[in-house]
Amino acid sequence: MKNYLQLNASLLYWILIAPFTGQFFKIAPIFRQMVFIGVRAAPMVALTAFSVGVTLAMQAAHSLKQLGAEMYIPDLVMVTLLREMGPVLIAVIVIGRSGSAVAAELGTMKVSEEIEALEVMAINPVQYLVVPRFLAMLVMLPALTIFGNYIGVFGGWAVCTSALDFNTAGYVLRALQSADTWDLYSGMIKSGVFAWIVITIACNAGLHVEGGAEGVGQATTASVVQALLAMLVTNAVLTGIFFFAA
């Protein structure tokens, strides 16, 4: 925990304070990490979001049909995706795919003396390795969430127009009517907080690996487990705050 807080403090120093003392972080590595962390996760996010959209629509149809309220299916798909399923499920994908990769990469660098070599070359590992990954994640997880929301709503549309009595215009209008901008914003706030949690836990696990290949494996597993738990607990807390605040 002490290491984790130190990492966060050091991260904030290198992003917020160091640039004013002339130590700018480089921009190119951020884009490289955005491709690794975000762009390459897009197909998996799309597939997951689509299947969630389809499932949500079918489940909603099953329940709402009994009440004669099928017209509310788009509302349910839209709001569930924007507020909950979008941010949470896409964070799960990114934890499994990108968080674990970051932990394993940094862990391998630690055990092969690369981190020590950076330090001896007077290059701060947090500035050189963690800052680009952190900023990339902070941009890409919300971006992936918006992308996933679109695909999920598209999945709902696929069910509604092919199996139920909806036309495209009816579905889109109903979906847009049901959601207000706060639904989107609350999802985005969650997504940003998740991004912070996921990447700092992954980097912290990687940078503190001890003991060879076995250590790297353990750190990777620990990073996934910790990030998942922290993300789900934070989600419940944030939902609580938004529910009572809105």
Partner: protein
Amino acid sequence: MNSNEAPIIEVIDLVHQFGDRTVLNDISFNVHRGETLVIMGGSGCGKSTLLRHMIGSMKPTSGSVKIFGEEIATMKEHEIGRVRQRFGMLFQSGALLASLTVGENVALPLFQHTDKSPDEIEAIVKQKLEMVGLTGFEDLKPAEISGGMKKRVGLARALALDPELLFSDEPTSGLDPIMTAVVDQLTLKLARGSHMTAVVVSHDMTSAFRIATRMIMLGHGSIVAHGTPEEIRTSTNPEVHQFINGEADGPIPLNLSQDEHEHHQCVKPRPFALARFRFHHKIS
């Protein structure tokens, strides 16, 4: 070499303990500009630990380590960075960044610490790689070259900023005899020509006697012998004699049972503890 000038490295009464085990015991020595100091000694006797104190990645239990006249043992992280920009370090494994190419590895300190243009940096990288006999290897990844080549790239990277001081951890282990000679000649050329100071941890006695202006032999965590190569070669100390001639019989204990080990070694092993300790602290 001018011994009136302030020493580049000044180690005074350095002690390092891991729990109740004393790994370095009362080590003191100076290194002056232009000298090449070779630190030798059996496995697990604190050579690499000593080196790690000199580069500021380990803090001593007591004593002082001064590099360029500045106390590195009590420095804050950003101050150590300033000192570190003035020296280069060659790691035993090379410690190249696997995600970068050979050329990018050598260019890394130049990009981070200088305002040179990419063209100038490319020219320096070419020149440094040529020095270690690796012309044309810029675009390969570390995974695509051999262990010996990695070490030479590590040397090129350590020399990228033209350091005043070079630390090398086993620079010639894993190199063929010809490449060993090339690396030795390079060290000599830099030491004699550019007055670079070098501290080399080595097991390789041929190479050590070729480059050293002074030698230290460590044993039981303290200095067993200290002198010029000639003094070491003619030393009457039986441990030194055994070590430099590579003899199996002699005062340096081999294949000890644990009881005997307690009496002879600086690192007193408990079951598994020694292996774990060596692993974490990379004591060679």
